[in-house]
């Protein structure tokens, strides 16, 4: 194990020449994870399980900070819009169906390992059990801010009571009168449309929330902080109690019920109102996203993963030094979890490029899977289609990997035995809209982290 360097700040051994000024300290570790979103965090935590020294380098929070609150693993692609939710396949079977219907999707690449998908989801949600509800194996149906019901393997604790398939009775959708940020009518429409699929009856409940002057134009983060104040949640609960419709089984609020889950805002409102309270999924800026970033940070620190802030420069891959925020890091294995366009792992610079190591990029989705390597060389503007529902090669751009999460070159050969990739930097799927983004991040992160930590003889 690379514990030879007892102090991370120790200077490199003098070589006889006068010491170079501001010599960066050298860090040697077993696994370097580049990227601090969900995939990178899960990879680091999975790698850390085997006890090695794990460094996670990140420039900024990943796109996971834009997360709306749902852990989307797989919707059932075989279900029709009229198929009742009770008849939808479970999460793992849905993933198998995605693998069978979307060529080139990470689930398709990993189809022989999908029996481990559930281990990965349980591992990741277990690590984050402080904020995530335990997954049940079937999809929960959660209200979005845009009038739809969204299937997710699990979600924040504060959203679990809003699972439309589980509410037995009337669901109260709270419409805050003092704030224009959310359209509660639109939110409720998501359940109205799904009434025949298994959604409960909904009733809009206008509440005089956020009616004081400072709140009228406050941003979601501020509203969340305001509700954490002693007594604020209890007042909201008492207000809700008076306006609850008959047979109300649960109430859903805008996703601003406290920044810090430890403030227990939903629980306090529920206790005062006498019904379970949940949040619907979030738009941007996202309070759930910020909660997730904080939970990831806390868990990584607790697990003993070393966090380094800064961009990775002069990177050459596993075994060679890379510069991260003024320090030199040498790692036996690497996991690239740099995300796609938001995270910055894939960028458009005349053509599509992978930004850390310059690996070959594939741009394809579904029916274009075979043409990927050729498509990526075209200008990014040529990789979108007019029909927004059709496959968009640009949005599915990313690295091509094998079942061990090794990035591949254009001919399909492994680039480096100890280089792995995870999350949205892996292409073949449109992670932002196909309903599998977080599932792919957790599954590929778990696989890549374990692969990077294992096989020390290689």
């Amino acid at each position: 194990m690379a514990g030879a360097d007892p102090s991370p700040n120790a200077a490199p051994a003098p070589t006889g020449a006068p010491a170079p000024r501001a010599a960066p300290s050298r860090v040697e570790c077993d696994v370097l994870v580049v990227g601090g979103g969900m995939a990178g965090a899960v990879a680091a935590l999975a790698a850390r399980e085997s006890g090695g020294r794990v460094v996670l380098a990140r420039r900024a929070p990943g796109a996971s900070g834009l997360w709306g609150g749902a852990i989307s693993v797989a919707p059932d692609p075989a279900a029709l819009p009229t198929t009742p939710w009770a008849a939808h396949a479970g999460v793992v079977e849905s993933a198998r169906r995605v693998a069978a219907t979307v060529p080139g999707h990470p689930y398709d690449v990993l189809r022989d390992r999908l029996d481990r998908l559930w281990n990965a989801i349980e591992f990741a949600t277990g690590q984050l059990s402080g904020i995530l509800a335990p997954p049940t194996g079937r999809n929960r149906w959660l209200l979005t801010p845009f009038g739809r019901a969204h299937p997710a393997a699990t979600c924040l604790h504060s959203m679990a009571a809003g699972d439309l398939a589980e509410v037995r009775g009337v669901l109260a959708v709270v419409a805050p009168r003092g704030h224009l940020w959310w359209d509660a009518g639109l939110v409720a429409a998501g359940a109205v449309r799904a009434r025949s699929l298994g959604a409960p009856e909904v009733r809009l409940v206008p509440l005089d929330l956020f009616m004081w002057e400072e709140a009228a134009l406050a941003r979601p983060f501020d509203l969340a902080r305001m509700l954490e104040a002693p007594g604020a949640a209890e007042d909201v609960g008492a207000m809700l109690r008076e306006r609850l419709p008959r047979h109300a089984a649960a109430a859903v609020f805008p996703p601003v019920l406290g920044l810090d889950p430890a403030a227990r805002v939903p629980e306090r409102i529920a206790a005062a109102a006498g019904v379970p309270v949940a949040e619907f999924l979030s738009d941007l800026p996202s309070v759930p996203g910020l909660r997730m970033l904080r939970a990831l940070d806390a868990r990584l620190a607790e697990a003993g993963v070393e966090l380094m802030a800064g961009e990775v420069r002069e990177a050459q891959g596993p075994g060679a030094p890379a510069r991260i925020g003024g320090r030199e890091v040498v790692a036996r294995s690497w996991v690239l979890a740099t995300g796609r366009f938001v995270g910055g792992g894939i960028a458009r610079r005349g053509r599509l490029v992978e930004t850390v190591l310059g690996l070959p990029v594939l741009a394809s989705e579904g029916v274009f899977a075979e043409a990927g390597a050729h498509l990526a060389a075209r200008p990014p503007g040529a990789l979108t289609g007019r029909d927004s529902r059709a496959a968009q090669p640009l949005l599915a751009a990313g690295l091509r990997v094998d079942a061990d999460m090794h990035p591949l070159d254009a001919e399909g050969r492994v680039l480096h035995e100890r280089l792995h990739a995870a999350g949205a930097v892996v292409g073949g799927h449109d992670q932002a809209s196909d309903g599998t983004g977080m599932g792919v991040a957790m599954f590929t992160g778990w696989l890549a982290g374990r692969a990077a930590a294992g096989g020390k003889g290689t």
Partner: protein, 153 residues
């Protein structure tokens, strides 16, 4: 044929006679004349610096994560109403729109607490300083503008 000859001789007269004559009579540099004609409409000449700033600002995806680290976001009404990222979005629409974000830009305390929070790596504090300068410049231009805003004759 005569139409073509007429058009070409008109263009020749413009290029060789009217235009140099006008230039001699009006005076001022090209930039000054351009600004006199179009400055009040916000069509400032764009420098290489402006283009670099606009490109950096265009990486903003309006996710609002920076606001979580902005101590002013909850206090300064201008930032609270629009959000810090509004300055980038407004600038993307055109320099004249920057005046709407001027108050928010001026409220910035330059603590740079937002910068490590940006997922797309926008150099926020550098851009805020740059846009503050641009907004001040626009205010000066508009105050000293040769023509008021409005339809041009």
């Amino acid at each position: 044929m005569t139409t073509r000859f007429g058009a070409l001789s008109y263009l020749a007269w413009r290029a060789l006679g009217a235009h140099p004559w006008k230039r001699a009579v009006r005076g001022g540099t090209g930039t000054q004349r351009f600004l006199a004609a179009y400055g009040s409409e916000g069509l400032d000449p764009t420098t290489a610096e402006d283009r670099a700033a606009a490109e950096a600002a265009s990486a903003c995806i309006s996710c609002g994560l920076c606001e979580a680290g902005c101590p002013l976001a909850g206090v300064a009404p201008s930032i609270r109403d629009l959000g810090l990222h509004a300055a980038f979005r407004l600038y993307a629409k055109g320099a004249p729109e920057l005046r709407h974000a001027a108050e928010g830009l001026d409220a910035c305390a330059r603590c740079a607490g937002c910068e490590p929070l940006c997922p797309t790596g926008v150099p926020i504090s550098r851009l805020v300083r740059y846009f503050q300068g641009k907004a001040a410049e626009r205010r000066r231009l508009e105050a000293a503008g040769p023509t008021p805003d409005g339809p041009r004759t």
